[in-house]
């Protein structure tokens, strides 16, 4: 395998093509424009389709039509654009369609800014649009992982017939790192796409829909979805344990770019003989709640610290996971400001000195 130096957005674009997704629909938005520009150049070479839509509302719905063919299709966008796609995401979740969405998050709310942020955690992991559904969410913290998770996203989408999102931030999209693409990419088999609308020649017509006026039928559809989410929780939870050991006094929970910064902090603290471990969720839904609890209750752990590029979103899931067994602390910056290792380290020192504020995050 050869390592190539690439920009995050372009690496993600190439990864999708390597996973067999050659149908791409999008509308420009910073900081992920390189994905679309790469696709516009590259897709004609591989017999794919690139459509620049009139809006992200249309993008979501073009994906809906395209994915119904049974082929691998995807989009990339950033926060405000993903908001506009929520209509179609809800419909595709209801109709059980395996679409893949890349969200290179920027600071919000509203038009916000174009700098890195993790403020779309709630939107991505709790449904996002209307109705009772979840999106499977993968959060890379390096470019190599962005490549691997993008490819995996198509597999998991097909496996569960569920919208799947790669949730990264502007830092991952914009920075350059060496990446490797697998030479002979083989996947576990996915279920046959016998639900695709390919024309009813020789079989009964297929209808892809989400409408169910009879509440008994609609509840049943929702229970099918719920069953799927249970399976995801059983089989798909992914996380990385970094320097987790029995001597840890603090357990940090952080994902994506923020987790990388926390690793730097943990390395520095190690030099000073302060033992801190990191549990980095890779799947944000399903969330590694049990795994966090298992570490949090270890006798040496004094507190659990969640660090995010937001005013506190994942921390709610961490609090729920830890269930008051240990204090949960929060540190975050927002609006496109990325916490420095010094800031995070200072906060950890404050926790150890028991000097942190009583109200931990905006949600208290």
């Amino acid at each position: 395998m050869t390592r190539i130096l690439m920009k995050g957005n372009e690496a993600i674009a190439e990864a999708a093509i390597r996973a067999g997704a050659i149908y791409y629909f999008a509308y420009p938005i910073t900081p992920q424009n390189e994905v679309g520009e790469y696709m516009a150049r590259r897709l004609p070479e591989v017999g794919g389709v690139f459509v620049q839509a009139e809006s992200e509302v249309a993008v979501g719905n073009m994906l809906f039509g395209a994915v119904a063919s049974g082929k691998r299709v995807f989009t990339s966008s950033s926060s405000p654009g993903i908001s506009l796609m929520q209509e179609a995401i809800s419909y595709m979740a209801g109709a059980r369609l395996p679409v893949v969405l890349i969200n290179i998050m920027r600071g919000g709310p509203g038009l916000g800014g174009i700098l890195p942020s993790q403020a779309d955690y709630f939107q991505s992991t709790k449904g996002g649009g209307h109705g009772d559904y979840r999106v499977l969410v993968l959060a890379p913290s390096t470019l190599q992982e962005a490549v691997d998770l993008t490819m995996l996203a198509f597999h998991l989408a097909d496996k569960y017939c569920n919208p799947t999102m790669v949730l990264a931030d502007g830092m991952i999209g914009q920075m350059m790192e060496p990446v490797e693409f697998p030479e002979n990419y083989v996947e576990e088999p996915v279920p046959p796409k016998d639900w695709a609308t390919t024309g009813c020649q020789g079989r009964a017509p297929i209808i892809i829909k989400s409408l169910a006026l009879d509440p008994v039928v609609l509840e049943k559809n929702n229970l099918v979805l719920a069953e799927k989410y249970k399976l995801m929780k059983r089989d798909e939870i992914r996380f990385e344990a970094y320097k987790i050991n029995p001597k840890n006094r603090i357990l940090v929970v952080s994902y994506g770019t923020m987790a990388r910064i926390c690793q730097t902090v943990i390395d520095e603290l190690e030099q000073e003989n302060i033992s801190v471990g990191l549990l980095r969720p890779i799947t944000l839904f399903p969330f590694p709640a049990k795994e966090i609890l298992a570490e949090a209750i270890k006798p040496n752990i004094e507190s659990v610290l969640t660090v995010e590029m937001s005013m506190g979103q994942m921390v709610e899931d961490v609090e729920w996971a830890v269930k008051d067994k240990k204090p949960v602390e929060f540190y975050g910056r927002t609006g496109g400001i990325v916490p420095t290792p010094e800031e995070v380290k200072d906060y950890i020192m404050k926790i150890l000195a028991k000097e942190t504020p009583a109200v931990k995050s905006w949600n208290g």
Binding site: V49, E54, A58, N61, G65, K71, G202
Partner: protein, 254 residues
């Protein structure tokens, strides 16, 4: 049927043997039938995928013997774009009401037409939101009483009804656009011809095609089925003239 009888009128193969949910006198059913007949005549049922609207036509997929997608309100042209682009071998059509196409889905239809997407749209204009109980649509006639224009459509506040066929015909991209009606047998025959032509252009991979069909909604117009046919002719048709507004051939000569 014994050997001495001979069926001269049967249900199209593309249409299921079911009773539709449409109100008495509603012409949605007539338009369905014309589309089904055309699919049969071209022998394309097995490679056709319809895209249903949100509106009274939403259950069209229960009546057709073809694959179907159910779009969010107004977005059928975006779904059709996505599907046709990745599966160009399919015949794709959208079936949309006037609230669906001329209000919430205006952006989607204009841009699909402007990109020259190779699918067909059947646009059912009944000057009202039928499904939600008769509210004003962008196509509602001046002075027309609806549940949200109880004193009649006030053009000072709401503007004049949108003529979608004309509006879409201003686009430079080649397309086939015709307006027809289904209130008399002669008009139904013409409507069928237009729908045939629209599908023919798609089969030939030529252009986007749209047939606007003036249709009735006796229930929400508060008229009998017969009065409705009359109202369509007397009130709608003068404002929404019938005819071909655009052909790809004419555009190519420009």
């Amino acid at each position: 049927m014994n050997e001495s009888t001979h069926a001269i009128f049967t249900r199209p193969q593309s249409f299921r043997d079911v009773v539709t949910h449409y109100c008495p006198g509603c012409t949605h059913g007539v338009i369905h039938r014309l589309v089904a007949e055309v699919l049969d005549e071209f022998g394309i049922r097995g490679r056709t995928v319809g895209v249903a609207p949100v509106g009274c036509g939403v259950f069209i997929y229960n009546y057709f013997q073809t694959d179907f997608l159910e779009a969010p309100h107004g977005r059928a042209p975006a779904l059709a774009t996505g599907l046709k682009r990745v599966s160009p071998e399919l015949i794709v059509f959208t079936y949309q009401g006037d609230g669906d196409l001329a209000s919430i889905g205006t952006a989607e239809i204009i841009h699909a037409a402007n990109r020259g997407e190779k699918f067909t749209t059947i646009f059912v204009n009944n000057a009202i939101y039928g499904m939600t109980g008769g509210q004003m649509a962008p196509t509602t006639m001046p002075g027309q009483i609806t549940t949200t224009s109880p004193r009649g459509r006030n053009v000072e506040e709401c503007g004049y009804p949108i003529r979608m066929a004309e509006l879409l015909s201003t686009l430079r991209t080649p397309a086939y656009i015709e307006r027809v009606a289904v209130h008399t047998p002669q008009n139904i025959v013409r409507a069928k011809k237009a729908i045939r032509k629209a599908f023919q252009y798609q089969i030939d991979g030529k252009c986007f095609s749209l047939v606007e069909v003036l249709s009735t909604c006796p229930t929400n117009w508060g008229l009998t089925p017969n009065e409705s046919l009359n109202w369509l002719e007397k009130t709608m048709q003068p404002y929404y003239p019938l005819g071909v507004f655009k052909t790809p051939d004419a555009e190519e000569q420009k």
